[in-house]
Symmetry: C2
DNA sequence: TAAAACTTGAGAGTAACTCTCAGTCAATAG
DNA sequence: CTATTGACTGAGAGTTACTCTCAAGTTTTA
């Protein structure tokens, strides 16, 4: 129960892997309910605050709008009676997260293929670099 | 080489899984060089145009800014002499794509854990729903 | 004790959509 | 043969979620 360690904006931002600007923005949105201030009004984050921010960051990254994240935070602070609604919100994001993993893998596959193609083309190209074979190029349907 | 089929904005948007607004926006940015217009000035997309749009969409999704995508398209249209630069651009996006797959998987893991936790809590909770044990709740460090 | 480093809130700026709207055109319903 | 419906157009306004700038306060370092 000893929660001694506290972090400034700069330190917390580094730990979370987000910018200081974004961290302040998130804190101002109420994404770190247990955040406190020091004698000079500076933000201080404890471990619990970091956990909240991490969670909210995950929710944002899966496409949950700021407003909905705020609502989710409010629900959490209400305790057990909001469990049902929170569960539904999480389930929806879970579905999105699954789709996002697939989408990300597709993009990676595309880029892998492209990289390979270019690598091969560069290998072939280096042989006849000076062959000006673009005299009849029909740019209408250039490959992408 | 027969490229007979053509699609309107609505049809193409559906095929690509993006909104008609976004498709027009992309087309206006030059992401579909082989796009044409019909007698009434309406956009018509052939397969090549769809391929371009898909590619540009992937690049955008991996975080490449519009400006850079435009530059990439311009490079493609220049033909072989831009191969080197295109290769570098693709490599950078490839790196990002790898990181994005990992990040997406982390988010999914987080949401899976959350979903499981809530499911368990709901099971336990249904037993003592009427136990008003929040009299001493210290909200400072509420779990997220 | 002065410069450098860090933080603050307010508010302006930005990227990439996203939407609205008035207007054109073609197909179809009555 | 008109009237409505539906799809499309460009221009431009609106939105979201940051992202950055700035003047001012504090605090550490030289």
């Amino acid at each position: 129960m000893t929660q001694s360690e506290m972090w400034t904006v700069k330190q917390a931002a580094k730990r979370l892997g987000i910018s200081e600007h974004t961290l302040r923005y998130y804190a101002d949105q109420g994404f770190a309910p247990s955040m406190q201030r020091d004698a000079n009004n500076r933000r201080l984050f404890n471990q619990n605050a970091l956990d909240w921010l991490q969670a909210c960051h995950y929710l944002r990254q899966t496409g949950m709008p700021i407003k909905v994240v705020k609502h989710y935070v409010a629900l959490c602070l209400q305790g057990n009676r909001s469990l049902q609604e929170r569960y539904q919100l999480i389930q929806e994001q879970q579905q999105l997260a699954v789709e996002q993993v697939q989408a990300a893998q597709q993009r990676l596959a595309f880029l892998n293929a492209k990289e390979k193609l270019y690598r091969e083309q560069m290998a072939t190209n280096s042989v006849d670099t000076f062959n000006p074979n673009n005299w009849s190029r029909n740019n209408q349907n250039q490959e992408c």
